[in-house]
């Protein structure tokens, strides 16, 4: 079943560990299934919006040996925003999970 999560939060989460270029970010989000029916090209506007809001910075890299790539990374504001999203998500999963009976999931989220 296709579902669509909060794309901006997913973009921030994808960049949590390391800077990535657009293709890689989109690929990871698509593989997670959280993009719903959005096509790959429709995820880029979210990247640009986050950049405009100061949560990401982007830079063209031409020294990769391949075609030029635009590489994104989190700013301190972006990390704070991600933490906010994570907290909201924890509360949501904890609340819904306690009703739906997903004890294991709730424990995992609480321990995360």
């Amino acid at each position: 079943m296709a579902f669509r999560g909060d794309i901006k939060a997913m973009v921030l989460g994808t960049l949590q560990a390391e800077p990535l270029h657009g293709y890689e970010i989109v690929r990871r989000i698509r593989e997670s299934g959280g993009a719903g029916r959005l096509s790959e090209g429709q995820i880029y506007p979210y990247l640009h919006e986050l950049e405009e809001d100061g949560f990401l910075t982007a830079e063209w890299k031409t020294d990769t040996g391949a075609a030029p790539r635009r590489v994104y990374q989190l700013t301190p504001n972006g990390r704070a925003e991600l933490a906010r999203h994570q907290e909201t998500w924890r509360k949501f999963v904890s609340g819904v999970g306690s009703v739906l009976g997903g004890e294991m999931m709730v424990k995992e989220v609480r321990n995360a």
């Binding site: 657009g22 096509s39 090209g41 429709q42 880029y44 790539r69 635009r70």
Partner: protein, 368 residues
């Protein structure tokens, strides 16, 4: 010959060309090409055919129109420094306010203004304000339906306390069809007019009773009292320009010396204008009118008197702070008049969104 990715990138560039600043456009197009080439190169291993790999990469990326709309929506997040939804809501609110003002001034509580330039100006401003929801929807490439519903329903709800505070209606013994009132802010102007109306209506009642009695027994015009045979004196007495000819259905009669009751009922407005008598040049016609229309006009005058007396009482109480929150007649039409605009707003919004879809046509781009 250009490969599919080059054609795709060219199409995307054409759609966005006049919509976005050059540097942003260049970045979007370069990033799309970078993504597609990387995606195609990874697919080549599976499908072996480079053209097919490119086509699959493009399919996964989405049509140029869909992708362009996503970028345009992002570009349209702000309109004059605010979210476009706020402008759509403001436009709807101004339209509601102007058209309600226009309607109220023309037909109801502020009829004192009459058909003046203020009404026309308010109507035009209301019409011009509709450009804001249109512009906002086109800017965002998506509907502002939630903002429009919120502001319209909110305005309808707010109009209840607003009109209850603003207007002074007739409430007690209110006759059916008597939907008049005066503004709390124009008491000094309107209360004397209402009191003058009450005095006039009483005088009208006396004259109508006299007319019914006189014509009931009269066989010749000599038996009719002088005032009922002098339309210009009656007009002067009640501050009317002149008494027009009596109209009965499609029959046009001629104005004359006989004062007759108005065929379509007696009526008076809060601004002092009255319509009670007409005139005719034929005694037999006048006699028939006084016998048939006279009694119903007398009942009309009773209703009007009750209505204006109620307004007078309420106005005197309003001077001491009384509000009229529990008078649905006061605001029902305003609420309906506001809510009825909602389908119009939503239709305009939907049409604006539909007309904003990029069509993928290059518009006169000069290629060096």
């Amino acid at each position: 010959m250009r490969d599919p990715i080059a054609r795709y990138v060219s199409d995307l560039d054409a759609i966005l060309h006049f919509e976005l600043p050059e540097d942003r456009l260049e970045s979007i197009v370069m990033e799309a090409e970078s993504h597609l080439r990387e995606s195609a190169s990874r697919r080549v291993a599976e499908v072996t055919d480079p053209i097919r790999a490119q086509t699959e990469a493009i399919d996964a990326y989405g049509s140029p129109q869909r992708v362009a709309v996503g970028h345009l929506r992002r570009a349209g997040r702000k309109m004059w420094g605010l979210h476009p939804g706020y402008w759509a809501a403001l436009g709807a609110l101004v339209s509601i306010a102007c058209w309600n003002f226009h309607w109220l001034t023309l037909d109801r509580y502020f009829d004192n203004f009459g058909n003046t330039w203020q009404n026309g100006l308010a109507g035009l401003i209301g019409l011009a304000a509709l450009t804001l929801p249109i512009k906002a929807a086109r800017r965002r490439f998506r509907s502002n339906w939630s903002a429009l519903i919120l502001v319209t329903v909110g305005a309808a709800a707010l109009s209840i306390p607003l009109t209850a505070f603003w207007m002074i209606p007739s409430t007690d013994s209110r006759p059916r069809g008597f939907a008049q009132g005066i503004s709390r802010f124009h008491l000094k102007r309107d209360l004397p007019a209402v009191q003058s109306n009450i005095a006039d209506i009483r005088a009208y009642q006396d004259l109508v009773r006299q007319g019914i009695r006189s014509y009931a027994t009269a066989t010749t015009e000599r038996q009719i009292p002088g005032l009922l045979m002098d339309p210009s004196q009656v007009a002067r007495r009640f501050g009317v320009d002149h008494l027009g000819p009596a109209l009965v259905g499609t029959t046009i009669t001629h104005a004359g010396k006989f004062v007759v009751p108005r065929e379509y009922g007696a009526f008076a407005m809060v601004d002092g204008r009255t319509w009670v008598f007409e005139s005719s040049d034929r005694f037999e016609f006048a006699k028939k009118q006084w016998a048939t229309v006279g009694p119903s006009d007398l009942r009309n005058l009773d209703y009007l008197l009750l209505g204006f007396q109620s307004i007078e009482r309420n106005a005197l109480e309003a001077k001491h702070g009384r509000l009229f929150f529990f008078c649905p007649d006061l605001y029902t039409e305003t609420v309906i008049g506001t809510l009825i605009l909602l389908p119009l707003f939503l239709a305009i919004d939907a049409l604006a969104v539909l007309s904003a879809r990029p069509r993928g046509q290059r518009r006169g781009r000069v290629v060096a």
